[in-house]
Amino acid sequence: MENMLSKKLNRRRFIGLSSCALAGVAVGSQVKVLRALAMTGEVANVTAVTEKEVFTSCGMCVNKCGVIARVRDGVIYKLDPNPHFLKSRGMLCARGNSGVQSVYDPDRLKYPMIRVGERGAGQWRRASWDEALDLVAARLNEVADKYTRAGVMFASSEGFQEHFFLTFAECFGSPNTVRHASLCLASNMQGFGATFGSNPTPDVLNADYVIMSGANRSEALITPDSIDMVTGNGGKRKLVYLDPRFTKSAAKADEWYPIAPGSDLAFILAMIHVIVKEGLYNRSFIENRTVGFEALVPHIEPYTPEWAETECEISAENIRRIAREFAAAAPRAVYYQGRRSSFFDNDTQMRRAMAILNVIVGNWDVKGGMVPTQTIALSTHDYIAPWYSRLDAGTATFLSEKDGSWKHFRDRVLEGAPYPVKGMMVYKQNPVMSVPNREKTLKMMAQMDFICTIDVTMSDTAWYSDVVLPEATYLERLDPAHALSGIVPVVTYREPAIEPLFESKPNLWIMQQLAKRLGDEVYESFDFTMEEYLEHQTTRNPAILESLKKTGVYYEWTEPKYGTTAGQRLKTPSGKLEIYSERYAERGLDPLPVYSRVEQVPKGKYRIIVGRHAFFTQGTTQNNPYLNDIMPENTLWLNTREADRLGLKNGSKVRVRSAVGEEVLRLEATEKIRPDCVYMAHGFGAMSQGLSKVYSRGGCDAALIEDGVEPISGNVSMHQTFVEIMPA
């Protein structure tokens, strides 16, 4: 009772603070409020500076746009784009602008919490850091003693301080790090990597012809592509866009085709067919820089545009025309590879085909084509490698040692074989929401002896944990330097805009404290300050740190460089661009992409497809006050005619049922989707009551999607689930 009361009080005070932060007018009174909060221990520290500008980097999504945080009297008042950060062309998106609220949202995590009731029942007790950390260390040791050190899994997603978490996993002695890649782009990396030796960057800015299939750049923002897609080449260029949905990218495209889901491979093979048959490929380039073209010629024989038309529902005539236009525009043409490729179980081969299509017209290392991805080297920090083998070893042909495969990993934990995994550490990842088939994830968690989540909000995963540790948000941390690769690579970092509020702490501190409790050998790898770490990262080039402090960014060059790979060996086995992959042949895989039809939608059902929303980041920011304000709930998109046929009214509640779950949400009857598909924005229908605005609001796609998997990369396949829809 008393506990609840004090919680409520905290919340109140906190709301007061956040509205003050937004007010930005009554400066004097803000200071007073903050002072008052500081007196009661609500705010760790109050800085008395009037207005300062702090260089940092947006932490709301993967793009890490450059930010200048404007701070007034210890309150972050506004985030402005850092004009020096060329990669994002001087912008901050809606989420980037809403970042202030990740600090001042009353729903943020404030104190270490220890579960007292049943797992998931939401009864928590505030604990001191010492108590929480002691408990975590003790439980980790317990699991290690009982089941070996590999018995603890470490789930995490990208972030500037993720590195310390991974280091901790290795020092602890577990090979079982499970990252987001196998939910996101693993098959993409694999398909393009197998062809180019690395994942190239499309030069969207300078391309005259861009084909995007399964990449929604107006909403799934990737800098600078999202911007260049619209403004590149003075907007003169052509954009062909393939998506079962009429997205905001479709609205910007010159041509939109509602392609049959899973049939992109047919479209691409047919394009290759046309280009090969009509001799539109780049002969000399193919001779000099590639291997395996001879094998491609007979391979594509059956893949005529007429054949493809029946698969992908784009007319043969259009396929021919697009292929010719693409070849004519080459090399200033890109068949854009997209990012999230967790689509179908033929995905790696589909991305391979995309890569091959780019290769045969010579779109490599030239202006407006596919350009080698560049990066700026930073010194790294070494640590001891563990000697167990991964739990999910051998589940996919080319499994990433660092990332693993979430789907296979979870299955093996549930099987308990080859060895049990009973401890779970989570950092900056929300698997309950992010991994398809939520029921299974919850089962997996139910069999854990111990779960600890380090997050900034009470995510669904945190909600089902035993200990929740509050990390300081990105605006409250000094973070390591971070190299972002691309055509023009950049280094960025984070200066804290304010001291961490409440009792939140940076991950490095958390890792250090845990390491201390695990023993000296472990702590050794963490015995440094962040400042020292930063200096260490930039030892090879101190100019980096200087530039970061002065402008928030560091560039080696600011204009794209082309032709850097001329005469160089690529990182493929042959050292050349591989149209035919010997390596795939050796592993018993199709060395050239072979089409296989994905399972078709059964009568009376719909295919559920997932996709990004411009206002939210994956399964997270839906609870952010600013963003929630724009879109408080998700809807189920269903084609108007289908809705009429089913007699379902726009805005009415519908029940969506798949083989693995059932969700209820509002219907949005729209022309913007194929009649055989449905769609819902990700991240709603949360189970955590700590996300007050999205708790039980709307539907959760992860609860419906079945956990298919792509065999080569171990990436999940999220578009292979069929659902029924009925009135709710």
Binding site: D80, M91, C93, E219, A614, I630
Partner: protein
């Protein structure tokens, strides 16, 4: 030397409907949460056609800082005024909350702010201009849909682009003389 006259030129073709401008404005100007409260907006224009032949555009908007501002004309206490640069302003201390200006504005550019206890609207981020910054919505936009500048200066970007490209204003027939120019 002529006075400055601020204006915004918009190239809506480039608009992604990402609503970065709306959130930036809310954060910059402390506009309270709530779906009625905003100084700028992005309208999804009507969907054209039926599946699979579709088209759609989006149009951002905000106070047009009218040269002949009906909101200013009707305000009984002079709470609504104009700066020398043509920025239509609201002095919240003088506002009696009659909302007459809201009914007078043909663009629905104003809202009643519970926080200020007065009517509020876009100020062209006057306070940022004073610090040498661009308006928040102008600056944050990914594709730079909006251009901001002094239309009385023939060398300014806004003047140059208006000289080069055709443009229109919203509800020209109302005679409000808006200073938001939409390129066509």
């Amino acid at each position: 030397m002529k006075n400055k006259r601020y204006a915004i030129v918009l190239d809506t073709e480039k608009c992604l409907d990402c609503k970065a401008c709306t959130v930036a404005c809310k954060a910059e100007n402390g506009v309270p949460l709530g779906r009625e409260n905003y100084r700028n907006w992005v309208e999804e224009d009507e969907l054209r056609g039926t599946y699979p032949n579709l088209g759609q555009s989006s149009t951002p908007g905000q106070c047009m800082h009218c040269g002949n501002a009906p909101c200013k004309r009707v305000c009984p206490t002079g709470a609504t005024g104009a700066s020398p640069e043509g920025i239509i302003t609201v002095n919240d201390k003088k506002c009696i909350g009659c909302k007459y200006c809201m009914t007078a504005c043909p663009y629905n550019a104003r809202y009643y702010s519970e926080k200020l206890e007065a009517v509020d609207k876009c100020t062209f981020c006057q306070h940022r201009l004073a610090q040498g910054r661009l308006p928040a919505c102008v600056e944050t936009c990914p594709t730079k849909v909006r251009l901001f500048g002094d239309i009385n200066d023939p060398e300014s970007e806004v003047s140059k682009i208006l000289a080069k490209r055709r443009s229109r204003v919203q509800k020209a027939e109302m005679g409000t003389k808006p200073y938001l120019f939409y390129l066509i």
